[in-house]
C-alpha cells in the first residue's frame, strides 16, 4: 500500500493518515489521542503485518477523498533521524568506490509535496544543489544488520531531495548550512516494501523547472542498498520511522535558484514536487 499524511481544508488540526489510491486518499482510522502524526506512523509500522489486510481492503474499496480536495503532507512527518549516505550512482560508480560515510539532518529539514524549500540567505559564493535520492523508511531497531538481510530493516520507500550547500572549501560549513530548516523534502507517499519486487531496478529522475537534471539507476551504485544498511547499522541503531537517504549521482546536478520547481520521480514510488524560495533573513555561516 501507499501511505500518506494529508490535510483536508477547511478542517484544521494535525495531518491524518491515509492510503493513496487511484481514486484519491482513503482515510485510515489510526489516530490515537495524545499521539503525534509521527508516533501514529511508528505505531502503524510496528503493527503493519497485523494491519496490512485492513489497509489493503481500504485501498481496494474504501471511500476516497479526491486528490483535489486534500493537501498531501510529508509522509514521515517528524523522523527521529534523517541519515544521508554518500553512496554515488553511475556506470563507473562501483569501480570508483570510496569509503562510505553518512551525514545527519534533523526533522526540521522535512517538508512535504507542494511545499517550499527556503534557501538560507548567505549570498555569494554559496550555492545550493538539490540531490535526488531514494529514501528507505526504517523498521527498527536495526543494529549490525548484514547486507544480505537489509530488507529486514526496511518498511518502505519514498522520494527525497537532499538540498546540499556548497561554498566553503576551507572550513566545511557546507555541511552545517545543508541542515537548515526545509532542506530535506520527502514524499509524496511511503510505498510499503512488499510493493517493490526488485528495489535495485528502481530508476531515480529529477527535473528543475521542467528541465531534466539527474537520472540514475539504483543498480549502478557504488554501494548496494544492502551495503548502505549494513554500514549505517555498524555505526548506529536505526529506529522505526527513521529515514535513510541512499545517495545520489554526481551527473546532472545544477545549482538551485529562487522561483524554481524541483521534481523527483521514482517509478513505482511516486513524484515529489517542491518549489524554491529564498529566505529573507540572514543566516549563520555566511560570515
Amino acid at each position: 500500500v501507499k501511505l500518506v499524511f494529508f490535510e483536508s481544508p477547511p478542517q484544521s488540526g494535525p495531518a491524518s493518515l491515509g492510503v493513496l489510491t487511484g481514486r484519491g486518499v482513503v482515510p485510515v482510522d489510526a489516530a490515537q489521542a495524545g499521539l503525534t502524526p509521527q508516533e501514529t506512523l511508528e505505531r502503524l509500522i510496528e503493527a503493519f503485518d497485523e494491519r496490512r489486510p485492513h489497509l489493503e481492503a481500504l485501498a481496494a474499496t474504501g471511500q476516497a477523498l479526491p486528490l483535489d480536495q486534500v493537501r498531501l503532507c510529508a509522509p514521515v512527518p517528524w523522523p527521529g533521524k534523517l541519515v544521508y549516505t554518500t553512496a554515488v550512482y553511475g556506470r563507473e560508480a562501483r569501480a570508483q568506490q570510496q569509503q562510505l560515510l553518512m551525514t545527519l539532518k534533523s526533522a526540521e529539514s522535512v517538508i512535504g509535496p507542494g511545499e517550499t524549500v527556503r534557501l538560507p540567505d548567505v549570498g555569494e559564493p554559496w550555492q545550493f544543489v538539490p540531490q535526488a535520492a531514494l529514501g528507505l523508511v526504517i523498521r527498527g531497531p536495526a543494529k549490525d544488520v548484514a547486507a544480505a538481510d537489509w530488507q529486514r530493516a526496511v518498511f518502505g520507500y519514498t522520494c527525497m531531495i537532499d538540498v546540499m550547500a556548497r561554498g566553503d572549501q576551507q572550513f566545511g560549513r557546507d555541511f552545517w548550512l545543508a541542515k537548515a530548516d526545509t532542506l530535506g523534502p520527502l514524499g509524496p507517499c511511503i510505498v510499503t516494501a512488499d510493493e517493490i519486487a526488485d528495489p535495485s531496478a528502481l530508476r531515480v529522475r529529477s527535473w528543475q523547472s521542467g528541465q531534466p537534471a539527474q537520472d540514475f539507476l539504483i543498480s549502478e551504485a557504488s554501494h548496494t542498498l544492502g551495503e548502505q544498511i549494513e554500514f549505517a547499522t555498524t555505526v548506529l541503531t536505526l529506529r522505526t520511522g527513521d529515514v535513510l537517504a541512499c545517495g545520489t549521482a554526481a551527473e546532472g546536478q545544477r545549482p538551485l535558484h529562487e522561483g524554481e520547481q524541483v521534481r523527483v520521480e521514482i517509478e513505482g514510488v511516486g513524484e515529489l514536487d517542491v518549489s524554491v524560495a529564498r529566505l529573507r533573513q540572514p543566516v549563520g555561516g555566511a560570515r
Partner: protein, 320 residues
C-alpha cells in the same frame, strides 16, 4: 534548581526529580504526565515560567529527599530532538584570528547517562576513540533568528556533555566533513542533571574538569571560547528552529584530549553544574598509550615539549 531524571532499584520507570542538598526529591506528582522521559523534561521546560517553577520548589521543600547513592540518575535529556555541536571553538593559547563558527549534528539516539557505559564499536576503521568534555546548553523553544542580545530567551539551563569521538588521521574526526566519528551509539553522555539558567550568571566563566581513571585530562575555563554562548544561540537559530529539550554543545579545549579504552572510568565535573562518571567497554580490547594525546597535531605543545622533547620539532600549528 537542579532538575534530574532518575529511577530506583525497586522502580525502573524514569521519574523527574529535583536535586537538593541531601539527595533527590521525586517531583512526578507535580509534573504533567508525558509519553516519554524526554517529553517529561520538555514539559518541565515549557511549563517552568508558567507556574511549574513554584510547584517544583514547593514539592522539593516538602518532599522527602532520597540520598543520591540510592537512586540511578538517568540522562536528563534522554533523546533530544537535535544535538548541535560546535566544531573547535576554543582558543587553546593560539595566536591567530578567530576561525569561523561552525557546527555539526550528532546522533541524538546515542545518549547515555551517569553510571552508564560508553561502548566502543566493533569497527576498526577509526584508529582511536577520544573523549571531549563540553558545556551543554539546554534550549527552550521554539526559537528562530534569536539575536545575541536576546540569547537568554532561548536558554533553559546547562548540563555536562562528553563528545566521544572516533578519529581518522591524528586527532581529526573520522569521516572528514561528515563528523560521523562522533555519532556511534553511546557516544553522547549527558548529565548528571540540568542546572537552570538562573543559577549560572555567566556561562562563559565555568570551570570544566575531566578525569580518566583519576588522571586529570581536561582542565579549562569556558571563558576561552572563541565564539561565546550568545553567538552560539544566534548562529544555531539562524539555520534551525531551536526547540525545548534540544542541546547545543560548546566544543572542547583540545589540549586535554586523550583516548578512552576498555575498563576505564571517565568523569566530568563542571563546577556549579554537576559531576558524572561513566564506564568504557571495548569488545575488541584495543589499547592506546594512556594520557593526554601528544601526536604531531596535538594543540598541547607544552605537554609535548615536556614529555616528548625529541618530537617537539614535529609540532605544527593547526587551523581547524
Amino acid at each position: 534548581m537542579k532538575l534530574a531524571l532518575f529511577s530506583t532499584p525497586d522502580q525502573d520507570d524514569v521519574r523527574p526529580g529535583v536535586v537538593v542538598d541531601d539527595g533527590i526529591v521525586d517531583v512526578s506528582g507535580v509534573v504533567p504526565s508525558a509519553t516519554s522521559p524526554q517529553r517529561t523534561m520538555e514539559t518541565i521546560i515549557d511549563g517552568f515560567e508558567g507556574g511549574l517553577r513554584q510547584d517544583l520548589q514547593r514539592a522539593s521543600r516538602e518532599g522527602q529527599p532520597v540520598p543520591l547513592a540510592n537512586v540511578r540518575l538517568r540522562a536528563p535529556l534522554p533523546r533530544p530532538g537535535k544535538v548541535m555541536c560546535c566544531i573547535a571553538n576554543y582558543w587553546e593559547h593560539a595566536q591567530r584570528e578567530a576561525r569561523p563558527l561552525n557546527m555539526f549534528l550528532k546522533n541524538p539516539d546515542a545518549v547515555v547517562g551517569p553510571g552508564d557505559t560508553i561502548r566502543l564499536p566493533n569497527y576498526t576503521v577509526p584508529w582511536m576513540f577520544m573523549h571531549e568534555a563540553e558545556l551543554g546548553i539546554v534550549l527552550k523553544g521554539p526559537a528562530r533568528m534569536v539575536s545575541q542580545s536576546d540569547w537568554r530567551s532561548a536558554v533553559f539551563g546547562y548540563t555536562g556533555m562528553m563528545d566521544i569521538t572516533g578519529r581518522g588521521e591524528g586527532r581529526s574526526t573520522w569521516g572528514r566533513g561528515t563528523w560521523l566519528g562522533k555519532s556511534f551509539d553511546t557516544f553522547l553522555p549527558i548529565g548528571p542533571y540540568i542546572t537552570t539558567a538562573d543559577e549560572i550568571q555567566e556561562p562563559n566563566d565555568l570551570w570544566v574538569q575531566f578525569w580518566n581513571n583519576g588522571q586529570l585530562r581536561h582542565n579549562y575555563n569556558t571563558d576561552d571560547m572563541e565564539h561565546r554562548v550568545p553567538e552560539l544561540i544566534e548562529f544555531a537559530s539562524r539555520t534551525l528552529t531551536l526547540r525545548s529539550g534540544d542541546l547545543i554543545c560548546c566544543g572542547t579545549n583540545h589540549e586535554g584530549l586523550g583516548p578512552v579504552q576498555d575498563g576505564e572510568t571517565v568523569e566530568l565535573l563542571i563546577h556549579g553544574i554537576g559531576r558524572m562518571a561513566l564506564h568504557v567497554e571495548d569488545p575488541l580490547k584495543r589499547t592506546w598509550e594512556r594520557g593526554i594525546y601528544m601526536g604531531q597535531d596535538s594543540v598541547n605543545h607544552e605537554a609535548v615539549r615536556r614529555n616528548k622533547p625529541q618530537e617537539a620539532h614535529l609540532l605544527r600549528e593547526t587551523t581547524a
